[in-house]
């Protein structure tokens, strides 16, 4: 895995990158454990692959079906000197564990700093355009947990980010959640920077608008995460063709938000559009939009534009689903509307 993951090795999937990070951290710290349903069979995306075969059934537990149980169990382990990793087969089912996730976030504070909570919850989830998984496999858990204090929330849309963030989060002594995009787990391949932990509070600039475009007032800041990254990257050629350009920023850290990177970009482009994988009400984009409007108002020439899901359960039928989750074409249109002054 390390050979394939290293530059020139051919690349690994996001699932493999997380698997590599997990295996390395379990070797590094013998108190690191992992819990997942169907763990022995590698779960859905190979995140816990070979952990049980390597570390045994106690350190790598194939879990009984109840997310509340194994997250709660991990809580108990974490407060007693262990470093648990929990993999959610699909982050939607983390909803079963909301009381426990909430507890995890609260623990350090409610115990007066006496008990550490070094727990990492990772999993694939979210909503890709046209993923055909129905309402209950398409909910934005990342949006639901935004408000829980004490949590660090990160997202990864590439093997490199997944690997680096997972390593950091596992080593971090607080509770963290790492979300990966369900439809990209096996499809996308990439390299990782071996043995390097990535900062958990920094956004990544994936594409920088040219100075010409900025000078011509044809550049827009695009903020996105998870599947939105793939959509945005695929939209860039068309955007460039139209004579526009974007500063594409992958949030990577949803909580805390990296307002500095956003500010630096906004100072150049003066306009921002969010490609958000959550609902209009209570979503991640709503939080980002509010903060930008409050803190970076003077850096903008117009309002924040937010492309997000409507307040309706994500339907299964393609004819309906494809309109719900905003995609590359919507982004191109949005950027166009901003640059031409329509929005």
């Amino acid at each position: 895995l390390r050979r394939r993951a290293a530059p020139g090795g051919g690349g690994v999937t996001i699932g493999d990158a997380l698997n590599l990070a997990v295996l390395e951290e379990m070797i590094r710290d013998p108190r690191t454990t992992i819990h997942a349903e169907d763990l022995q069979a590698g779960s859905s995306y190979d995140i816990p692959r070979l952990t049980q075969q390597t570390f045994g059934t106690l350190r790598a537990a194939d879990e009984i079906i109840d997310e509340g149980h194994f997250i709660g169990c991990a809580l108990g382990e974490a407060m007693n000197g262990y470093r648990p990793i929990v993999e959610l087969m699909n982050t939607n089912f983390g909803i079963y564990g909301l009381p426990e996730i909430s507890s995890a976030g609260n623990t350090y504070a409610t115990t007066g700093g006496q008990f550490l909570m070094p727990m990492t919850i990772m999993g694939a989830g979210g909503t890709a355009p046209n993923q055909a998984l129905g309402a209950e496999h398409s909910q934005p858990l990342h949006a639901y947990v935004m408000g829980i204090p004490g949590l660090k929330i990160c997202t990864a849309a590439s093997a490199g980010a997944a690997y680096g963030l997972a390593k950091s989060m596992i080593r971090d002594n607080g509770p963290g959640m790492l979300f990966a995009p369900v439809k990209m787990m096996k499809a996308v391949k990439g390299e990782v920077e071996l043995d390097t932990c990535m900062p958990m509070n920094k956004a990544a600039v994936l594409h920088r608008a040219s100075d010409e475009a900025v000078a011509a007032r044809k550049a827009v800041t695009v903020l996105t995460y998870m599947h939105g990254v793939k959509e945005a990257e695929s939209a860039i050629p068309e955007i460039l063709e139209e004579g526009m350009d974007v500063d594409l920023i992958e949030m990577r850290s949803l909580k805390p938000l990296d307002m500095d990177t956003i500010r630096d970009s906004l100072k150049r482009t003066r306009r921002v559009i969010l490609l958000d994988e959550s609902t209009q009400s209570g979503g991640v984009g709503a939080t980002i939009s509010a903060r930008i409007s409050e803190e970076l108002y003077d850096e903008m020439d117009g309002p924040v534009v937010r492309l997000c899901m409507e307040d309706a359960p994500v339907p299964y039928a393609s004819s309906m689903e494809k309109a719900v989750v905003k995609r590359a074409a919507d982004l191109v249109q949005g950027v166009y509307a901003i640059v031409t002054g329509a929005k």
């Binding site: 079906i65 079963y96 055909a132 339907p315 299964y316 039928a317 309906m320 309109a323 919507d330 249109q333």
Partner: protein, 467 residues
């Protein structure tokens, strides 16, 4: 006087008291002195003489026992459990292993001593037909998924007897909550094959308006609640439905439909680990509700075998803890399943109490089209279960009675397959739901903000098309 070996002396006791209550400022000096005054002072001879009974000889006979009334209120609302004087940590296996009720052997003969339920020949034929339809559906839709014609499916291969046997014992007014592997129950209750095909293809005719993923069927007409993806959510809901039935029975009287209906919840042995399963059973038993819990123990929860799911004797062994009636049955014996469900339903109705049926079976196919069970299962194991195949067993039974033969079975199989293929083709011809359907049913009456979002989305799409 012998010095005490190391009994806590007054000084130690005093310092302990001070460290605890007085140290926290809780006890007053007066209280402290009073507390100290009742401590034994064995180091003080005069004090020793003052302590009653210290040096007296034992009485000649054992003192008479004076009965002390057991305070009922102190122990709670139940009668005090009988005390015993031998300490025993009871191991779970001491409770015994629950036997498995069976009527028909693997060879199709009725077991000696078993009572064959008194069903008509028509019903047996219906069992056969529905099982074949389900098997044909499984075959066709699994292939269809691999071909990209439907995007998801879950087969019930090997579990058909649990579906039709239990469904036959229910009345149409019973409210049914499934997990996701109970399509045979739906078919038995009259749900059309076309309805399944429409749901899988997600066209505009789907009862659920194409919102749920494949096999997540529901039909109010057939009293079968729409399948929900998160596991075990159906159990508390079934208990709630039974609660409503109990309300209605009180209001509508003894002869009403409500008085003659139960709630039925199906669940797998893996999903029975979810907290919701535990609370549902406890509530049903404590609130005396007419629920039948039908546990399909098919050996696997995706890749997790049953022996890694629980330590006890299956799921039915939990009944004692809940104060609930239960029975274990051979899930691949359609007659036994029928008999058990009928009896359970009658008890639930008559006594307004829950009953749990644990049907033992085997999941022959993969968990779903997203699973490859050869990754974690021995092919030999999958072969071994074929001898218990519920469909073959029923066919053996029918043949023994001259009610079926190879030709008849082949004809039925072909007819079933044709029906499924026709339904699939028809489903694919039908139009897909329009975008407006996204916004309907979020609320009953479309509120302003949803309407605005709809208008916004339509304008956005129109602008996109215009570009």
């Amino acid at each position: 006087r012998a010095a005490p070996s190391r009994a806590p002396g007054a000084a130690d006791t005093a310092s302990m008291l001070r460290a605890t209550s007085a140290g926290r400022g809780m006890a007053s000096p007066g209280l402290l002195r009073a507390a100290l005054s009742v401590m034994p002072r064995e180091t003080d001879a005069a004090a020793a003489a003052a302590v009653p009974f210290a040096a007296q000889a034992q009485p000649a006979e054992a003192p008479r026992r004076v009965p002390v009334p057991v305070p009922q209120a102190h122990l709670g609302h139940f009668v005090a459990p009988p005390p015993c004087t031998s300490l025993e940590l009871v191991l779970p296996r001491a409770y015994g292993e629950w036997p498995m009720y069976r009527v028909m052997g693997l060879d199709g003969h009725v077991e000696p001593g078993a009572e064959l339920p008194d069903l008509s020949v028509e019903t047996w034929h219906k069992f056969h037909t529905i099982m074949l339809q389900l098997r044909a559906a499984d075959d066709v839709f699994m292939s269809a998924q691999r071909q990209g014609r439907v995007s998801f499916y879950m087969a019930s291969t090997g579990e058909e007897a649990m579906h039709v046997g239990s469904a036959a014992a229910l009345s149409p007014s019973d409210v049914v909550f499934g997990q996701y592997r109970e399509l045979g129950v739906l078919f038995y209750r009259g749900f059309p094959m076309q309805g399944l095909a429409d749901q899988l293809v997600a066209n505009e005719d789907d009862y659920g308006s194409a919102r749920q993923m494949g096999v997540h069927v529901g039909s109010k007409e057939h009293n079968f609640f729409t399948i929900s993806s998160p596991l075990a959510t159906q159990l508390p809901q079934a208990v709630g439905a039974a609660y409503a039935l109990k309300h209605r029975r009180g209001l509508e009287g003894a002869g009403s439909a409500a008085a003659d209906s139960v709630a039925v919840a199906y669940i797998g042995e893996g999903a029975a680990s979810e907290g919701d399963a535990y609370v549902a059973m406890n509530f049903a038993a404590t609130l005396d509700l007419p629920v039948v819990f039908f546990v399909r123990n098919n050996g696997y929860a995706i890749s997790t075998p049953a022996r890694e799911q629980y330590r006890g004797d299956g799921v039915v062994s939990r009944c004692a803890g809940f104060g609930m009636a239960g029975v274990r049955v051979d899930g691949n014996d359609v007659h036994a399943v029928y008999a058990a469900t009928k009896a359970a339903r009658e008890m639930a109705l008559r006594e307004s109490r829950p009953v749990l049926i644990e049907a033992m079976s085997y999941r022959v196919g993969h968990h779903s089209t997203s699973d490859d069970s050869t990754r974690y299962r021995d092919p030999e194991e999958m072969e071994a279960w074929k001898s218990s195949d519920p469909l073959l067993r029923l066919e053996r039974f029918l043949r023994l009675r001259g009610l079926s033969d190879e030709v008849h079975e082949a004809r039925l199989r072909d007819a079933a397959r044709v029906e499924v293929l026709r339904a699939l083709e028809e489903a694919e011809r039908k139009p897909k739901p329009t975008l407006e359907k996204l916004f309907t049913d979020v609320y009953h009456d479309v509120p302003k903000h949803i309407r605005e979002q709809e208008e916004g989305l339509m304008a956005h799409l129109a602008a996109k098309a215009g570009q």
